[in-house]
Amino acid sequence: MFSNTKCECGHQNHAGTVLCESCGKPLTEEWAGNPETPLEMRYDGVARRSQKANPDLLDRVWNFFSSVKVAVWLIVLTLIGASLGTIYPQENTFLNLQTYQEFHDYYKEHYGTAGVVYHALGLSRVYSSWWFIGLLVMIGTSLVICSLDRVLPLYRALSKQQIRKHMQFISRQQVTYSGPEPVNKEAWLDSFGKELKRKRYKVWRDGDALMAEKNRFSRWGPYINHIGLIIFLLAVLGRNVPAWNMDQYVSLDEGETEQIPGTNYFVKNEKFTVEYYTDAELPPTLKGTERPKLFETKATLYVCTESCDDPSKDPVLSPVKTHDIRVNHPLSYKGLKLYQYDYTPKPKLVSVSPMLVDKKTGEQYGPFTLSMRNPALTYRAGPYTLTLKDKFMDFGLDDQGRPMTKSREPNAPAFVFIIQGPDLPETGETYIYFPQQIDKVKFRQDVLNKAIADKLDIRVPSMSGVVLSENTSTLNVRVDRAMPFIWTGAAIFMIGVAMGLYWHHRRIWLRFDDGVLSLGAHTNKNNYGLRMEVAAAMTKAGLPVSDKSLDNRRKSP
């Protein structure tokens, strides 16, 4: 099939050429054999670049990826793989699970046997599996190689077209005309050419042969959209580069500042607010339930400027940005984005400002501010000095009756002071203080404090002396440096698609032989439009034809 590469016009064609690169004569048996059918005009009949008579290993690999059939299969397999990943939630959507066993148990518990199979087959992490990424890489390779193999020969073929085409090439186009030549051939050609120019064709003449062409650039559309896709794919793969991608969660009580792990940034939750729908706004079935309408974290982002890596000192922070973070309104700073992810309504004590009260005289001293986390160790209240000796965040007793904390959260804080002052021993008296009234009663503060409980009391005079965090806000911290490239790729893709879709490459060839005018025209899209254009130009030039009569596909029986 590849042996007959030299055309009768004398042009030496590449192996695999379907239509002579110069005159357009059909070369292969398949196409030369049946003169009635319209020609296959794909890539103007030129050979794909890598087609060779004796391919070596490199050529075989290359040819594999150069095949559109292979590309279609790769895309189908990728689509099937991607759709399998949507049956159950993927592993990376669970924040609390990490090990294989934990995931196994989760899928088993929620989805039964199907879940176990799903997890065992690795479908619970499709998008980061070696085979899925492998398929994407292969599609990318196929895009590059398919495009390269087709765009270069096509470019070559279109940039040096011969004006006078082979008779068979003209008569076997999808749009054709054949009829007696007009009386004044030259004048008719001039006026036909002028009509085509008015329709923005470029017109070339070679003796009494004519060629007209417009919108050739639309042929590059598919290749430009492939460039966009390749940029897109590379950007997606680029997300694997650690510096390009970060996805973390930070939970903050109100007033709390925490470092964003792996960065030099700190974030503070200044205030969290949640607004619920009123009953009037809810449908009947949801009335009486708490439905959040808006939740918002007033956050400040800090950058650490000093002592960032020195645990013996507190880091020196300087604020860089303040923002009200709401769903879909992240705080954004230099590629770092903080999204509102979740919140937990759980009131926690942050600090109290109590007074020291002399129970006998009723005199009050203070107030002094007692912070739940990292409190100061000594306090002055009038003539008294309070030294903090011990502190329990979540007071309780262990199985041997010793005081202990049950957790790290200030659920039932207790402070153990040594109080020194008038009427008290030199070494001071121990005083245990529960800031929350409920704990004071539950753990019987006055009984624990014995005699001193009759003399002194520590008490918060009003609610203004209490700072509470109503909610814990969870923020999702993300860096995605691939995004600009994804948008660029997508934009280039759209430009390519628009080029290929909204403009049509149209060509018309015409020649005279022994008093017969033969015309053939080709387009890759919208034959109807091309026929209208050709018929209108011929009619205006003085040779009336109907657009229907030009349709070669319906002419033959």
């Binding site: 599996s129 070696w130 492998g134 890489v137 390779t141 013996s312 502190k391 965040m393 202990m404």
Partner: protein
């Protein structure tokens, strides 16, 4: 154009192998947050109860035990005496023991250590950062690290007995590298 065909094919396929190899390799060898035997523990640099700063680098080349604990965790309290006894017996032989507290106030930690008689070096984590890097789920968790920096065992839960701890120390000291 034709003479460039071969080099272009080589360049394209080379780039495919390079980029594709990286992408596929990443999926195969991606490290998870969970530490396991044979891994190297993450680095840390923390303040100790005595006010000095300790960097994990200073334990390189020595058998190391890292015990994560909190005052809120009864088994942590219960295994403190065992850790202290073992530490006294092995510290002269170069065995290092650090107890990393789970981001509690220094005051609470000091008072607790005094009560349970823990005098081995105790480091203070801040904002749960070290704990997160070690991927802790339960307390106490104890890491036994060979002198070459690889984890020999991770014991989750407690309390540990002196025999348990010493069995692991003997492996560390025997030092399969």
């Amino acid at each position: 154009m034709k003479r460039y065909r071969k080099p272009i094919q080589y360049i394209v396929l080379f780039l495919v192998l390079l980029i594709g190899g990286y992408a596929v390799g990443h999926t195969l060898f991606a490290s998870t947050a969970v530490l396991k035997t044979g891994d190297e523990p993450p680095a840390f640099k923390l303040l100790s109860l005595d006010g000095s700063v300790h960097d994990s680098a200073e334990y390189a080349g020595k058998p190391l035990i890292i015990n994560f604990w909190g005052t809120f965790c009864p088994p942590c309290r219960d295994e403190m005496p065992a850790l202290q006894n073992v530490y006294e017996r092995w510290q002269d032989k170069g065995v290092q023991l650090v107890g990393i507290n789970l981001s509690e106030d220094k005051l609470s930690v000091e008072s607790f250590a005094r009560q349970v008689g823990a005098h081995f070096p105790i480091l203070l984590d801040r904002n749960r950062q070290t704990e997160k890097r070690f991927g802790l789920k339960q307390y106490p968790t104890t890491f036994f690290v060979y002198p070459n920096g690889k984890i020999e065992a991770i014991l989750i839960g407690g309390p540990l007995t002196e025999e348990q701890i010493e069995a692991h120390i003997e492996k560390l000291v025997a030092g399969r590298s």
